[in-house]
């Protein structure tokens, strides 16, 4: 069960991440994108899900990641990520509810440089009973 105290809270990113050209290249190669100067629209999931896992599985929040199913996903891209960007990714637990024993959690991830929000994304995560 998610800790009720964590609902509505924003957890700062735990590390500073430098986007590399090679990780953009690898992502572009999967989808056949030839313009590798910027990251494709869904690239940031690579950062946001990893950060969400660290935060949501912390004892403070208490989510079990191995029971997790991804329900939906949305991106709001202010400016595409590119190689050399140094970013952090915060996670906000916007809501949590229980349906038929499953926990349904909505998490917003904000990826920012020191002075600019680049991508916000919303993930609905279902933790199966």
């Amino acid at each position: 069960m998610i800790s009720p105290d964590s609902i509505g809270r924003t957890f700062p990113g735990t590390e500073s991440i430098t986007i590399s050209q090679s990780e953009i290249d690898a992502f572009c190669a999967v989808v056949g994108e030839t313009n590798t100067t910027i990251a494709p629209p869904t690239f940031s999931i690579r950062i946001s899900l990893q950060q969400s896992e660290v935060i949501l599985t912390s004892p403070e929040v208490g989510i079990k990641w191995d029971r997790l199913v991804h329900g939906d996903q949305k991106f709001d891209i202010k400016r595409p990520l590119k190689a050399g960007d140094v970013v952090t990714c915060s996670s906000t637990i916007e809501s949590a509810r229980e349906v038929a024993g499953n926990e349904i959690i909505s998490v917003r991830s904000d990826i920012s440089t020191a002075d600019e929000l680049l991508v916000s994304s919303w993930s609905t995560l279902v933790i199966r009973a």
């Binding site: 990780e23 690898a26 992502f27 190669a29 999967v30 989808v31 056949g32 994108e33 313009n35 910027i38 990251a39 494709p40 629209p41 869904t42 999931i45 690579r46 899900l49 990893q50 991804h70 329900g71 939906d72 996903q73 949305k74 991106f75 709001d76 891209i77 595409p80 919303w122 609905t124």
Partner: protein, 138 residues
Amino acid sequence: MVNAGDPRMIKDQVLAEQVFYVNRALLKQYADASGDQNPIHQDEAFAKSVGLPDVIAHGMLTMALVGKYVSDIAGGSAKVLEFGGRFTKPVIVPAGQEVDLTVSATVTEVADGKATLSLSATSAGVKVLGMAKAVIEL
């Protein structure tokens, strides 16, 4: 038909369908590119042990491919402002097969230099994304 990226994009316009092909090698490639190494996307015995019919594609791989479709329509990734959808059914990827991911879109709104697209994504005739939508800059 109005071409992709054409500023004349109009409401209710149906955009050309594109078919992507997904196989086990692409799942491995996406696992490495995304960092999502969940065995349900690579290991058939494991996938079946948790009640799945077979190995399934990462939902986010499906979205990445639909995102490529949107980028192409927009005239580049830089013009994709919003993109989202719900994972309704998995894309099932049996060994040795190439399964389709068939994507199409309808323009639902054109305003303020932006177009909103309603996206359809199916695999083997089954709808795999629900309420999928993108906003692009014209």
